[in-house]
């Protein structure tokens, strides 16, 4: 991917950083789950399960 190609030779994530070791991965996973939930809701509207 283009993003990967650009990533070579750039500044680095600090080692043993609580933000990058704990907060970022948890935030990414949580946001992925919430995104999936919102997409299912929108699909529910399309399928008539959620009435409006």
């Amino acid at each position: 991917m283009n993003e990967e190609k650009r990533a070579n030779g750039k500044s680095h994530i600090p080692k043993d950083s609580f933000l990058f070791e704990k907060v970022v991965p948890v935030a990414l996973i949580l946001m992925g789950i919430i995104t999936l939930g919102l997409i299912l809701f929108a699909a529910g509207v399309l399928l008539g399960i959620v009435r409006f």
């Binding site: 991917m1 283009n2 993003e3 990967e4 650009r6 990533a7 070579n8 030779g9 750039k10 500044s11 680095h12 994530i13 600090p14 933000l19 990058f20 970022v24 991965p25 935030a27 990414l28 946001m31 992925g32 919430i34 995104t35 919102l38 997409i39 809701f41 929108a42 699909a43 509207v45 399309l46 959620v50 009435r51 409006f52």
Partner: protein, 271 residues
């Protein structure tokens, strides 16, 4: 005047600065993702401005802009910019054509409903997000105090509904989930994916944080829109403002040059 009357003005101001920043980059670099981001963010700003206007007075064309740009299209156009950034394949141009045709079709459906808007229910005492849709009452459910209701036939059943500005079963409302699903997938999914790539390679922490902020901002407005759809429109305006601030902060953060980039400049990912 309440805080909800002021918030859309603040969101509009943030989006104006954001759009100017993004389009300026497009005119310098001529990369299509900046153009789509700029158009989508301008739609977001138009929606916010329309909310601000409709908090003070009625105008059917401002309502047209609010629903079409603010509720239906903006996320998909911003997200399409992210698709252009992440995927450099010819099929993206086909998706562009589908998006443009779909947007024109939604505009056509919106134009069709304009003569049938139930303007008698409009009031400046309520937010536009709380009065735009006609909502069917479930069995045993009672209408809120003071709400105007109508009994009509809908999908073969006789139903009672709380009247809203858009009539019951308006086709344009069926288009919004398509645009919003696409917008969520590309905008939030794209930002999460970008953050993950940089995080996995342990490089460019500014873009990891920038993309996390962009994803969080986009998710927040998606969440607030979902609450609006469920009848809790009072959270939409604060959601829009925080979303606009988070996405702009993420954009600026991701665009911030890092020491290595100053030494060896490269095209930026999310700048």
């Amino acid at each position: 005047m309440t805080i909800n009357h002021i918030l859309p003005f603040l969101s509009t101001a943030v989006m104006l600065v954001f759009v100017a920043h993004v389009l300026q980059r497009y005119f310098v670099r001529r990369q299509p993702h900046f153009l789509f981001w700029g158009i989508g963010l301008a739609m977001f700003g138009a929606g916010s401005f329309a909310e601000a206007y409709l908090a003070l007075a009625w105008n059917k064309w401002v309502f047209f802009a609010w629903y079409l740009f603010g509720a239906a299209l903006n996320a998909a156009w911003i997200g399409h910019g992210t698709l252009y950034l992440l995927v450099r394949k010819k099929w993206v141009h086909v998706v562009t054509a589908v998006l443009v045709i779909g947007s024109l079709f939604a505009g056509y459906l919106m134009l069709q409903v304009m003569p049938r808007l139930d303007t008698a229910v409009f009031t400046t005492d309520k937010l536009i997000s709380q009065q735009y849709g006609t909502k069917v009452l479930e069995a045993g459910e009672t209408a809120p105090a003071g709400a105007l209701t109508v009994t009509t036939t809908y999908r073969g059943e006789e139903v009672t509904a709380v009247r809203g500005i858009l009539p019951l079963g308006t086709p344009v409302r069926l288009t919004t989930p398509f645009f919003n699903i696409y917008g969520l997938l590309t905008l939030v999914g794209g930002a999460i994916y970008s953050a993950y790539l940089f995080w996995r390679k342990r490089v460019m922490p500014n873009r990891v944080i920038g993309n996390v902020l962009i994803a969080a901002g986009a998710l927040l407005i998606g969440f607030a829109s979902t609450l609006t759809r469920l009848g809790y429109g009072e959270y939409l305006y604060i959601g829009e403002l925080v979303s606009a601030i988070l996405m702009y902060a993420g954009f600026r953060f991701a665009a911030r040059p890092q020491p290595d980039e100053v030494m060896q400049p490269v095209p930026a990912a999310a700048d």
